[in-house]
Symmetry: C2
Subunit: 149 residues, 2 copies
DNA sequence: TTAAATAGTACTAAACTAGTCCCCAATGTT
DNA sequence: AACATTGGGGACTAGTTTAGTACTATTTAA
């Protein structure tokens, strides 16, 4: 289904939440409670995002995390890259190796074009966009955790 | 890295190869030899693609497989859908459930837009496009199997 | 000094993927 | 009619990846 890992999904949820009040410093506990994602998992993700330079962290009591840039300057593509590595649908799009077969596999370059298109689509959406509320039919309140069985 | 499974990649290689001569009926052995993908795997994929209606099969001696439609009418999106299910980056994009959290997760609709964009990108490329040879820098002959480690 | 936080690392269970194999069904060929 | 060829449908296994948790060290406010 061409899907992102759960952790990447969580990361976007967390970052989108933090983008609502991007100046405020939040600790792992607060983020966990607000998003419904288990604390150890939130903690792990926040560390990871901080290490990647997406968040700035403050250690010690009253510490926490805040976005390192404005929400409109953080693209979904960059979030995905941080979590999953470069956006590339196929192996040969990422490696330096040139993919050729005996029969002549010339599709590599085409894959590159496809990847570029997908990348552009993801690059064009930022956290600021994610914060905007778009109404959906039938708003039923379900904790996010329940989605993951 | 937002990647497709190896089998999906193989499927595009196989279908692209078959698209070069879309009328000709090929058996699993021929496809295996031409693509460098192991026979049991090719066989499994051909069965799967036939079952999905992407290929038409002929049983018995002199049997084999051929594309069920013209290459220009088979999109990469449809190939991915057959192999991996609907193209949806996140869980909430695929389920009927509406994803809402206590703090208000309104990003679902935004994900839907992203998915649609990605889907359009993949829908716009067909097998006919994949057959077109685009030159790449440094053409080195490497069997496709070696790409996977 | 103490409590509150993050930093870093290691570990485990579960799920998924890739690949192979086997036997059955269909259809030409001799 | 017998046989060879080829797809059809499962079942199975090893390996890898993912998700989630736990534990210890480090930093800093009060």
């Amino acid at each position: 289904m061409l899907k992102l890992s759960k952790l990447t999904d969580y990361a976007t949820v967390i970052l989108s939440f933090m983008a609502k009040d991007s100046r405020h410093v939040l600790n792992a506990m607060e983020v966990s409670e607000a998003t419904g994602i288990a604390l150890p998992t939130v903690s792990k993700l926040l560390k990871l995002l901080a290490k990647a330079g997406m968040l700035v962290s403050t250690r010690g009591a009253k510490g926490g995390y805040a976005l390192s840039r404005k929400p409109e300057n953080i693209s979904i593509a960059s979030v995905i890259s941080v979590m999953e590595g470069p956006i590339a649908l196929t192996e040969c799009s990422i490696s330096q190796q040139v993919c050729e077969q005996a029969a002549g596999c010339h599709i590599g370059a085409n894959w590159n074009l496809i990847n570029k298109t997908v990348h552009n689509a993801l690059e064009s959406v930022t956290l600021a966009d994610m914060v905007i509320t778009v109404p959906r039919p039938e708003e039923i309140l379900v904790p996010v955790a329940s989605l993951y069985r």
